[in-house]
């Protein structure tokens, strides 16, 4: 599978990364190479092999349903470029 310039532009836009027109040709080539490299894995016969989800033998731990966190709105918004009345304030999102 190979990636063209349009696909690069689409992925970049979905990821909110600005990619200049003159970079996209080179990126398309690099991404295609990565995909070709990964695709070699499909040469292996994995019929009947369960997908491995972790190298350690453990299951997903569950925690108790108790309130142990929160109560620090100032800390939460401390790094916000802008905050007002306890809210994050962002450029208007018009639907």
């Amino acid at each position: 599978m190979s990636v063209d310039k349009d696909t690069v532009a689409k992925i970049a836009s979905l990821a909110r990364i600005r990619v200049d027109e003159n970079q996209s040709e080179a990126l398309a080539g690099e991404l295609s190479n990565i995909l070709v490299w990964i695709e070699q894995l499909s040469e292996l016969d994995t019929d009947g092999v369960e997908p491995m989800t972790s190298v350690v033998s453990m299951t997903l731990p569950l925690r108790k349903d108790t309130v142990t966190d929160g109560g620090y709105p100032d800390k939460v918004t401390a790094n916000a470029p802008e905050a007002a009345h306890g809210f994050y304030a962002v450029p208007k999102v018009v639907e």
């Binding site: 349903d65 709105p73 450029p91 208007k92 639907e95």
Partner: protein
């Protein structure tokens, strides 16, 4: 089957609903922050919910248990292995840049819901799946001219997305589906079902087709927050689609937004591009494995659900399907009815609860908790009817008085001297008097006018202020006149 008559023939609606139900739990799906409604902005936010770098999600056991309980209540397949994935999209109230959700491997698979329709009919609707996911934060757009305000209190709260099969064919069925689902969730205690607080919201998938033909292209109307609005949105979208199709147009698969204020919907073009969610398994979370024994424990702890309760009310208590349906629609109402009916005539209890009691509740906008007459007091009133102390007619009077004063039925009957007259000699004396004083009416009766008997009964009731035992009055009159 309900169809819509278009200019060129009949059309059938095909409806599927996706319901987002907020899970009842103390803390969030992956963090220890509180889920309480209505707190100060960003006061119930952990650094996990705010997506600070390096934070790791830790799964809430109760959230999982609630999803399993709901799945069991929907007679659905419980998947012992399920997987959390990242659903990627950008929005200001989604600080992670992705929602942790389940996609290919949800925790609950196929199940069924039985709808109770207006005409007493029932109809089965399939459940496609139920999965766990995080809620997003809340955006407030109307507080500032050029800014939106973001509150993350809701961010990370547990949602169950419950997806139906496209099995519904009318707005009425969609309404019945939502009501039944809400009833089941409330019985299970897994979601409070309060649509006005946003704890239950519905996305409506709708397409139109000619009866018998394959499904057409569907649209999705997002985040409709009341049953009435869901039904309005369906009616409107159905008409819009029929209009487009009959003019030879095509339905575009799109997301639409319904505005309850104007009753109109419009296309959300901005969502089109975002539909490429690039799901992949969340590397912070292992697959969720459920112990079969745990699932069995949860199953053993399920309450009696509305369908089973309704069947029991019909089969062992002898109620009509309609009355049983009304009584089981709300868990507290059903419990109230059972307390009143315990050891008494169940049909009489049902009539009183559904008729006079609900009537008084509506009139005074009281709730079961705040009503001045509790189950024991209403039961006391029914006991007085059952043992013949008062007639059903007097009982209505006594009940009104009970509602006013909160007093017990016995005390009111005693104080007002409302005890039924069941002394046959007393009634006979009265009847003799009335017969002697009204020869004309006696003639009419003897001449074959049966209706005049009612007039005699009325006279006796008038003389006793309604306290005479009606059965006895009839009997005595017939024997004396006949």
């Amino acid at each position: 089957m309900a169809t819509i008559q278009g200019k060129t023939g009949e059309w059938e609606m095909v409806i599927g609903l996706e319901v987002h139900a907020q899970v009842i739990s103390n803390s969030k799906l992956f963090s220890g922050a509180s889920t309480a409604f209505g707190a100060e902005p960003n006061s119930q936010v952990s650094l996990v919910d705010a997506a600070m770098p390096g934070m790791l999600p830790m799964l809430n056991k109760v959230a999982v248990e609630q999803a399993v309980r709901t799945g069991l209540g929907l007679n659905a397949q419980i998947n012992l292995t399920s997987v959390f994935e990242r659903k990627n999209y950008f929005y200001a109230d989604l600080p992670q840049g992705y929602q942790i959700s389940q996609y290919l491997h949800p925790i609950v698979g196929e199940g069924t819901i039985i709808l109770d329709l207006e005409d007493g009919e029932t109809r089965e609707v399939g459940i496609e799946r139920l999965h766990l996911e995080q809620d997003a934060g809340k955006s407030i757009h109307d507080q500032h001219p050029s800014q939106s305000y973001i509150d993350l209190n809701r961010s990370g709260v547990t949602l169950m997305e419950i997806v139906s099969k496209p099995d519904m064919r009318s707005a009425e069925e969609a309404g019945a589906y939502l009501r039944k689902l809400r009833t089941i969730l409330r019985y299970l205690g897994t979601c409070d079902g309060n649509m006005d607080e946003g704890s239950m919201r519905a996305d409506v998938n709708l397409s139109m087709r000619r009866p018998g033909e394959p499904f057409g292209t569907r649209t999705e109307t997002k985040n409709v927050n009341s049953i009435r609005f869901v039904q309005q949105a369906i009616e409107m979208e159905a008409r819009r689609q029929v209009e487009v199709l009959e003019e030879g147009g095509e339905i575009r698969q799109e997301t639409r937004l319904f505005d309850g204020m104007t009753g109109k919907s419009r296309s959300m073009r901005s969502k089109e591009e975002a539909h490429d969610y690039r799901y992949f398994p969340d590397p912070d979370l292992l697959p969720l494995e459920l112990e079969p024994a745990w699932v069995e424990d949860i199953k053993a702890g399920l309450p009696e659900l509305p369908d089973a309760k309704k069947a029991r009310f019909v089969e062992t208590l002898g109620l009509s399907a309609y009355d049983a349906g009304v009584l089981v629609a709300d868990r507290d109402t059903a419990a109230f009815f059972e307390a009143v009916a315990e050891g008494r005539d169940a049909k009489l209890a049902a009539n009183w609860v559904i008729g006079d009691y609900f009537g008084a509740m509506n009139k005074s906008s009281a709730s079961l908790d705040s009503a001045p007459v509790d189950a024991a007091k209403l039961g006391g009133l029914l006991d007085l009817i059952a043992d013949g102390t008062i007639s059903g007619r007097i009982a209505k009077e006594v009940f009104e008085e009970m509602w006013e004063s909160g007093q017990a039925a016995g005390a009111i009957v005693e104080a007002k001297g409302l005890k039924q007259i069941s002394d046959s000699s007393e009634i006979e004396t009265l009847v003799d008097d009335i017969i002697a004083n009204n020869p004309k009416q006696v003639e009419q009766f003897k001449g074959g006018n049966e209706k005049i008997l009612g007039w005699f009964v009325g006279q006796v009731m008038k003389a006793t202020q309604g306290k005479a035992n009606p059965g006895m009055v009839n009997q005595v009159l017939r024997s004396k006149l006949g």
